[in-house]
């Protein structure tokens, strides 16, 4: 019996090898420029612009689609995208976009190994040109409650009538302020005459989508949510998707039909592949010379900095995110602004960065990451917000203790964070700073991520809790207002407006400042309004303690010419080049 089993296995192996030998040899074409990068561990959640929420998904989307406007990934300024220009109505709430009429929908054809234009169902098939109706379809699909798009809220918050359509109050999309005037003119009406409207109009959730591919038509079978899979995918940006092997890699190929504009040039590199590796193996691949750019794992930072070759390839670039501790302003001890200020001022942010984080992060003095439109910068507001000041911190705390007639030993404070060795290290370092600078013993507690997220959205939010925030669109509004305004992400309210969790805080002056800032059109005056709001948030009321502004520590091979996006992903790889 053992012998027959052996024979079966041997036969199977021989058959398999014979089959392998039958595979055609790799085709040898003209040399093409290729580039291999890493996306991070785990599969890309989706390529569907209506459903994308994270940096890997949006990275592929900004390369394979173009929105009405395009935010420059380096300067964060808004430039033309599919809209060549746009005009504002008198009240500033309506924008009319004039679209390009020369951009075809394309797909990768595996048989010919080429990118081809998508044609319609007519008898003499005509090329499908991206038009205003595709935009309306894409926005309608994002807002349609059946699509269940996470990020639909950005549109429903900004666009006139979008909220009612998204929550099912009406199923008539004509009530929503998005209209195709003709094939290449799109009109969008917003709730406010806000400075960032043109920015939101360019976000991935407002990209056009191919209705014929998703819902099907006479010559195309409906693909539903699977329209972004290998073999089905259609787009029109500088690249299009060639192959997506889930959990393994994704390859984009140059779209020769993208006309190439001043701010969105045609691609120079023919094929770009992103692997989906964890940081440590990705760095090993980088050192083996197999991928062109990689993030540096924390454990390798010191070695990279001292290595003569690697240190030349190292770049520390800003990322639009802020790491912070929030205070539940209704809990004992931290219900007094002096205690919160004391805790915030006693954090030696630079020390934390130098000894724990090591990634060249910037000490955060306020919440809105400098670089965002409207956010104050360290150059023009060096003394704004909160700084490390142990004496000042001690004085604040002492004044509180004297008034209450208690000692520091009576102060019982708990800091909670989600379970992770990185957050643990930061919390322990800060716990030690509070001990050294204030004589205060703070307890550390951690919870598993999803449990933690539930905890910090109830009235039982711990006295101090950790969170971070990264931009959706590069405007201070996306930070200070969407997070800390009453009803914001870290300050949720019940339907009657009473606090429901998070920082549990409302300051009328703060609320009026951020509303004013949203519609202020003079950029300098806007920054001043946000600076005042930040001062209230991080110092006067000290609702949260900003800790650091994110950076990205990466190495790139010297043969790659590249740009560094500050948008958290969304690299414009079409601007890159490589010599081989």
């Amino acid at each position: 019996m053992r012998k027959s089993l052996f024979l079966a296995v041997a036969a199977l192996m021989i058959v398999s090898m014979a089959l392998a030998a039958c595979q055609p040899p790799a085709a040898e074409g003209p040399t093409i420029k290729t580039l291999k990068l890493n996306m991070g561990p785990g599969d890309i959640p989706t390529l569907d612009p209506s459903l994308a929420t994270d940096t890997s998904s949006t990275q592929i989307d900004v390369m394979t689609f173009v929105g009405l406007t395009r935010q420059d990934e380096v300067t964060t300024l808004i430039g033309p995208g599919m809209a060549t220009d746009w005009t504002y109505s008198e009240d500033g709430k309506t924008i009319t976009f004039n679209l390009r009429n020369d951009v075809p929908w394309v797909k990768y054809d595996a048989v010919s190994d080429q990118v081809v234009q998508v044609t319609d169902c007519s008898e003499t098939p005509a090329v499908r040109i991206v038009n205003a109706y595709d935009f309306v379809y894409g926005i309608e699909r994002t807002l349609n409650p059946a699509t269940a798009s996470d990020y639909a809220y950005v549109l429903s918050f900004a666009i006139d009538g979008a909220a009612a359509y998204n929550n099912g109050e009406t199923d008539d999309f004509s009530t929503v302020g998005v209209k195709a005037i003709d094939a290449f003119t799109l009109e969008m009406t917003f709730n406010e005459a806000a400075a960032y409207n043109a920015n939101i109009a360019g976000m991935w959730i407002a990209y056009p989508s191919p209705s014929w591919l998703i819902d099907g038509d006479d010559c195309t079978e409906a693909r539903g949510d699977k329209w972004t899979e290998t073999g089905f995918f259609q787009g029109f940006g500088p690249y299009t998707m060639k192959e997506w092997v889930h959990d393994s890699y994704i390859t984009l190929v140059k779209n020769p039909f993208w006309p190439g504009t001043e701010n969105i040039p045609a691609a120079k590199i023919d094929e770009v592949t992103w692997t989906m590796l964890d940081e440590v193996p990705a760095f090993a691949e980088y050192e083996a010379g197999n991928i062109a750019s990689a993030a540096v794992p924390l454990a390798d930072i010191d070695r990279v900095k001292s290595d003569p070759t690697l240190s030349q390839e190292l770049v520390i670039a800003p990322v639009q995110c802020t790491y912070y501790y929030g205070f539940n302003t209704t809990k004992p001890f931290v219900d007094d602004a002096r205690v919160r200020r004391a805790l915030s001022m006693a954090i030696d942010r630079q020390g934390l960065i130098d000894n724990v984080l090591k990634g060249g992060q910037e000490p955060a003095q306020w919440f809105s990451r400098p670089g965002l439109a409207g956010a104050p910068t360290m150059a023009d507001h060096p003394d704004l917000g909160v700084k490390f000041d142990p004496e000042g911190a001690m004085a604040e705390l002492q004044s509180y203790l004297d008034e209450k007639g208690i000692t520091v030993a009576d102060v019982d404070i708990t800091l909670m964070f989600n379970t992770s060795s990185g957050h643990q290290k930061i919390a322990e370092a800060i716990q030690q700073m509070w001990k050294d600078n204030l004589g205060l013993d703070v307890k550390l507690v951690n919870q598993e991520w999803a449990v933690y997220l539930d905890t910090i959205r109830t009235v039982d939010t711990p006295q101090i809790y950790r969170l971070g925030w990264c931009q959706d669109y590069a405007d201070a509004n996306n930070f200070i207002r969407e997070v800390f305004a009453s009803g914001g992400s870290a300050n949720p309210t019940n339907e009657d407006g009473s606090p429901a969790g998070g920082v549990m805080w409302k300051n009328d002056e703060f609320e009026s400042l951020i509303v004013q800032a949203a519609t202020e059109l003079d950029p300098a005056a806007r920054v001043e309004l946000y600076a005042q709001a930040e001062e209230i948030l991080v110092y006067t009321d000290a609702v949260m303690a900003p800790i650091y502004w994110y950076t990205r520590v990466s190495v790139t091979k010297p043969n790659v010419t590249r740009t560094y996006s500050v948008l958290g992903g969304q690299e414009s790889v079409n601007k890159w080049d490589v010599t081989q």
């Binding site: 199977l12 398999s16 090898m17 089959l19 392998a20 595979q23 785990g42 599969d43 890309i44 989706t46 390529l47 569907d48 459903l51 409650p145 059946a146 269940a148 798009s149 996470d150 639909a152 809220y153 429903s156 909220a163 998204n166 929550n167 099907g216 079978e221 409906a222 693909r223 539903g224 949510d225 699977k226 329209w227 972004t228 899979e229 092997v245 889930h246 959990d247 393994s248 692997t275 989906m276 590796l277 964890d278 440590v280 193996p281 090993a284 083996a288 197999n290 598993e448 991520w449 999803a450 449990v451 933690y452 997220l453 539930d454 905890t455 971070g468 925030w469 959706d472 992400s489 949720p492």
Partner: protein, 351 residues
Amino acid sequence: MGRYIVRRLLYLVVVLFVVSVITFGLMHAVPGGPFDREKALPPDIMENLNRRYNLDQPIVVQYGLYMREVLIPKCQDTHWLATTEDDAMIKFKVGNLYCKWMNFGPSYRSRSRTVNDIFRDQLPISMQLGVMALTVALIIGLPSGILAALKQNTIFDYLGMSIAIFGVSVPVIVLGPLMVYVFGVALGWFPPTGWGSQPPYILGFIPRNLGWDYFKYAIMPAVALGLGSSAIIARLTRASLLQVVREDYIRTARAKGLRERLVITQHALKNSLIPVVTILGPMFAALVTGTFVTELTFGIPGMGRYFVTSITNRDYPVIMGTILLYAIFLVIANLVVDLIYAYLDPRIRYD
């Protein structure tokens, strides 16, 4: 024997039912939901998401809907589309009806994929790695265990057991990156990460290419993963064989003048393998359904990741799918183990 197998397979159905009820109840009872994000979603958006995935229904209804999709075939007179809703593990045609069966549902995290896709694309890779790791474990573990037992208290024994202790005490999380650095980066013998095969697979899991292009990816992870298991096998084999060679029937075999080689291979070894085979069942189930750390370290697109991330993400259909899959493998592996007992020890009869 046939009746025994049928009985055990029926018992498998009961086990899977119990496992599914407990898992379904537990994962919904744990605080936190699949759509809790660092950026809290507004209530309207949460409602849309919950409605889409039937999470607004009572838990019993949700369980019923899930089990119906998995167990009961659905038929219609037009063919099923390649959408997430129409997906299923098995699609077939009966007369003019198009049928689908066993749909394990969508993944909440990967919006264009279903749990069926994960089974189709990721499970075969984990199975390949698992089978190779187990092979490595047996090739290293069995001989070194046997050698250590036969040459007890000699250099072979000490050497074998030292390697075993090393294998047990140095986990993949340490050995993996070390191997990647030494053999992948410094020496450049193997690609540091990746996997050499892609769907479709022969018989659902055997790669189409079995040359160097395939094995150059598989050698390092298979050795790293197999080494830990080989240590367990070696120690168990040694202990078991040492006990067996002291049995009376071994002395009898020797006394009747049987050659030492036959004594060991025919009498001692076969009987000493029972405890080893016992642990091979669960070991096999654990190895072939995916190993998180090994797959992460060597960048292998297998199932292992989903066992861990599905739980942190509260991706309910993926949790159900992975747990049920593991249960199936475990029960079947144990059944096979029981059948091997009967072969190893003729006194064991199941009828």
